[in-house]
Amino acid sequence: MAEETEDLRAFREELRAWLDQNCPQSMRDGRNDEASICWGGKNWQFDSEDQRTWLERCVTKGYTVPTWPVEYGGAGFDRDQDKIYHEEMARIGARYPLRSFGIWMLGPALLYFGSREQKLHYLPPIARGEVRWCQGYSEPGAGSDLASLQTRCEDEGDHWLINGQKIWTSYADKSDWIFALVRTDRDAPKHKGISFVLIDMASEGVSTRPIKLISGKSPFCETFLDNVRIPKEQVVGEVNRGWDVAKYLLTHEREMISAGGGVMGSGRALGAVLADSETGLSDPVLRADAMRAEVNGLAMALTLERYKDQAEAGQGAGDASAMLKYMGTELNKQRLEVLMAAAGADALTWEDDRAPSWLRAKANSIEGGTSEVMLSIISKRVLGLPG
């Protein structure tokens, strides 16, 4: 890393002082797992007063979305500043004040494809944690072959009329709005008749039904869209060009999943885990597996940083996000297998939080595009192989 400039040093000091003063003690436990963080939204129930205070203070500084422009609720940080922000947050074990699909996925897509009115209308409420978004891509018949989706969206003159079903919609039952892919032209080739639309979940005709996961939780749903009407201006990008928006958004989603929502590399060293376990250090196979997982995990964490360094702040890694997602999720699964083996019977009950997170991680190489799909993207778009 290059020597830190005078400006960046001052920036770091100022940020550090602000964090020291403003981050409540209970928000410094380093917990950034799905259950501990604030997801925001109209129906959000804060776990504690501290969680609310922490969010509110960060919102005033734009620290919920540090790389977004100030006018949309961000802090306008460049890559160097963003890196320092993450380092200083990690230094005190601060929880992220807010995480959401709006931040990870819709925000970057709107910043790139949205009209100025759309940005001003939708981005600040995401940054403030007031509106929670979910993702309506997958359908019962359209998973890996996402572009074959069938949800119909018809032009009714002064509004759009939507009919169809989405599935695996994470947190649909807790979300306020959904960004969805719909078919606006049934005669065009499959990639050319798709549009990217924004739907208020409170609209008439939207309903959800939770689906239970192997981890025991029900974070995702079936989402039904029956004669749902939306205003004409709720299309992002051009009509029938939604596939471009969809793909761009997916590169951001994949990077986010790759980083395990920020746990990769920053997780507990496997050495400490093995040392705590009954046979960890004396079982040669477990130790060898753990060494390999640790080597790979550290190298993967460096890779995520390297790709962030290469990209403009706030921009994605493009097609290489498929590599980040594939390697990140597969290596994370490998790591969690080691954790389970090290823990033995200690991790086999539902009271323990290890089994659910081990089970949940199995989805990481499925959601956002499966590992096999990632490999196909790499072989075609990066390596230029035929077919």
Binding site: G271, V295, N296
Partner: protein, 360 residues
């Protein structure tokens, strides 16, 4: 820029066909090529400017090593320009400065003689240097001295009463008996017998009994550069394989249309990318925080070893029969990867250092 210049030079002066010609002629060192590399500033890449070098640092050395890995250049670059140079740079007395200036001009090559067993293990050595008057008498047997056959000078690790010490020995001194190793990668390697070699007190590199002080930084520098070389090797092998998948037709289509092969090729590419990050990080750590670079360097060497071996194994398999022929280059990649995997510590050696740093 450095990488582009290096690639241009190597494609012209040392493509893989150069290695093949050297192999066929039974030669392991091309002094003309090394002189040309010195003129490019490569022999002195780590030599301080006031000793006639480029003084550029480890990241730059890794860039060069990576490019050399792509065309499998056999040269004294790592033993001399990286390892020995780092030893001399940490000693920095008048003798060392003189040595550095001769390295930078390409007039002197140096090899490091540490290993005594089949596996890299600098902590366990039996060679001894006995005190005799003001000097020492060195005896022992060193194995797998890379670059040792053509080197003008050797840096030899031996025990003294005060502890392990690194000695500088002229390769043509009485009592130094070198025997050529016919290495599978056609590189320069020797087993060397030191039979009561008389050394004066000046021959000690750094402090008596304190070999670690000068050896550890030098080994790390060499390991990082070797990791970079292996990463270049792996990318080149993967690149050749991908080109072949597009060209070779079976069942009426390019074999690269078969998903089973596409996914294996894509996976290899991913492995190369992840390893490249570890190598970049190792160079950066050696340049900015060398005292804390141990884990970064071992991470790079472990990853590079794993990736290079996977790349060449898959490379041969996906080429089918032609991959097994001597006429085709993939075999050179496989053999170099095997030798580089062992040199300066294999996967297990380095993964273990990472594990120790992470508390196992």
């Amino acid at each position: 820029m450095l990488a582009d210049a290096a690639r241009g030079f190597l494609d012209q002066k040392a493509p893989i066909s150069h290695l093949r010609r050297m192999r066929d002629e039974g030669r392991v060192f091309d002094s003309g090529l090394w002189k040309a590399m010195a003129e490019m500033g490569w022999a002195g890449i780590l030599v301080p400017e006031d000793c006639g070098g480029a003084g550029m640092g480890h990241s730059a050395a890794c860039v060069l090593a990576g490019e050399m890995g792509r065309t499998l250049v056999q040269s004294p670059f790592i033993p001399t320009a990286v390892v020995a140079t780092t030893v001399y740079s940490s000693v920095m007395d008048d003798r060392s400065r003189h040595a550095l200036s001769r390295i930078a001009t390409g007039d002197m090559t140096v090899a490091l003689a540490v290993d005594e067993g089949a596996k890299f293990d600098p902590e366990h050595i039996e060679s001894k240097a006995e005190k005799v008057g003001n000097g020492y008498r060195l005896s022992g047997r060193k194995r797998f001295v890379v670059g040792g056959l053509s080197a003008d000078r050797l840096l030899v690790l031996a025990h003294t009463e005060e502890g392990p010490t690194l000695f500088e020995v002229e390769a043509d001194q009485t009592g130094v008996n070198r025997s050529a190793l016919h290495l599978i990668d056609s590189g320069d390697g020797a087993d060397i017998l030191f039979d009561e070699v008389e050394l004066d007190g000046e021959a000690i590199m750094g402090q008596l009994g304190r070999a670690r002080d000068v050896l550890v930084p030098a080994l790390r520098a060499g390991q990082a550069a070797l990791a970079a070389e292996m990463t270049g090797l792996a990318s080149a092998a993967v690149g050749m394989t991908i080109a072949y998948l597009k060209e070779r037709k079976q069942f009426g289509v390019p074999i690269g249309a078969f998903q089973a092969l596409q996914h294996r090729a894509a996976h290899l590419w991913c492995e190369c990318e992840v390893t490249a990050s570890a190598v970049l990080n190792a160079g950066r750590m050696l340049d900015t925080d060398p005292g804390n670079a141990a884990m970064a360097v071992s991470l790079a060497k472990a990853r590079a070893t794993d990736t290079a071996q996977r790349a060449v194994q898959e490379g041969v398999q996906m080429h089918g029969g032609i991959g097994m022929t001597d006429d085709f280059d993939m075999g050179f990649f496989m053999k170099r990867a095997r030798v580089a995997a062992e040199w300066l510590g294999d996967y297990g050696y380095h993964a273990n250092i990472v594990a120790q740093a992470r508390g196992f």
